[in-house]
Subunit: 139 residues, 2 copies
Amino acid sequence: MGQRPLETTESELLVCIKCRGVAAHGDEDPRRPGRQLYDQLVEQDLPEGTRLRAVECLQNCDYGNTVALRGPGRWTYVYGNLDAGQHADVLLEGLALYHGTEDGLIPWRQRPEHFKRNCVARVPPVLFTEPRLDPENDS
Amino acid sequence: MGQRPLETTESELLVCIKCRGVAAHGDEDPRRPGRQLYDQLVEQDLPEGTRLRAVECLQNCDYGNTVALRGPGRWTYVYGNLDAGQHADVLLEGLALYHGTEDGLIPWRQRPEHFKRNCVARVPPVLFTEPRLDPENDS
C-alpha cells in the first residue's frame, strides 16, 4: 500500500485525512472532516487514469479541508476550504479536467468555481520552462 | 534552459519572480520583490547538490513572496511571506537542511523560524506510505 510507483500518465487526487475543516454531518461524526471527504471519494468512480490517495497532512491546516492534484508532467495544485459534505463531486469534476490536460493547467473558464477561489499554491512539474529573466525591468 | 531533467539526488529552490511581497529596497527598485529575492539568491553559492530556479507564479499571491523546496524522494514544501531584503540567507540555510534529509522533513527544532511559521502547504513525494485508515474512528 502506498508504495506503488506513479504510472507515467496517471493523475492523483491527494486528500488530507487529518483536516479539521467543514464536516459533512456536524459534530456527530467521529471522523475528521478530511477523512469524511476521503471516505466519500473512495465510494465513487474516479475518472479513468486517476487515483485517490490519503495523505497524513498537507500543512495547510488554517484553511479548511485540503487536497492536491498532481501527475507526471503536470503542475501540482493545492486547494483548500473544501466542504466534506459538498465538494466530492467538484473534486471529481476538477480531477477529470486536470487529467484531461497535458500540463495540469485547466483553462480558467472551465475551472470549477471552487478551484478559482481556493487555490493555495501550485508547483511546476519537474520539467518546465523557466520564465525569461530580463536584466533590469519588472520581469 | 529550464528543461534539464532533475538529477536523482538534486534538490531545488523554486522562487516565484512575480511575487509582490515585501521588497528589499522600498519602491525605488523596478523589479518585483520576488524577482529581487531571486536575484539575491543567484549571486550566492548554493549548497552542493542543489539548484535555484525561477518560476512564473506559485499562486500563493496573497501571502507575500513565495518559494518551494523540492527534490526527488522528498516532500515538497511551499513557504510564503518572505522578505526580499531579509530572507535569502534563511532560504539557503533551509535548502541545505532540506537537502540533508532523505525525505525533505527537516526536524522541527532545526527548522528555521521562518519555515516554522510560514509553511503554506506540502506535498508528498511520488512514493510515500499512505496513513493507516481505521474504519470508523478519528484517523
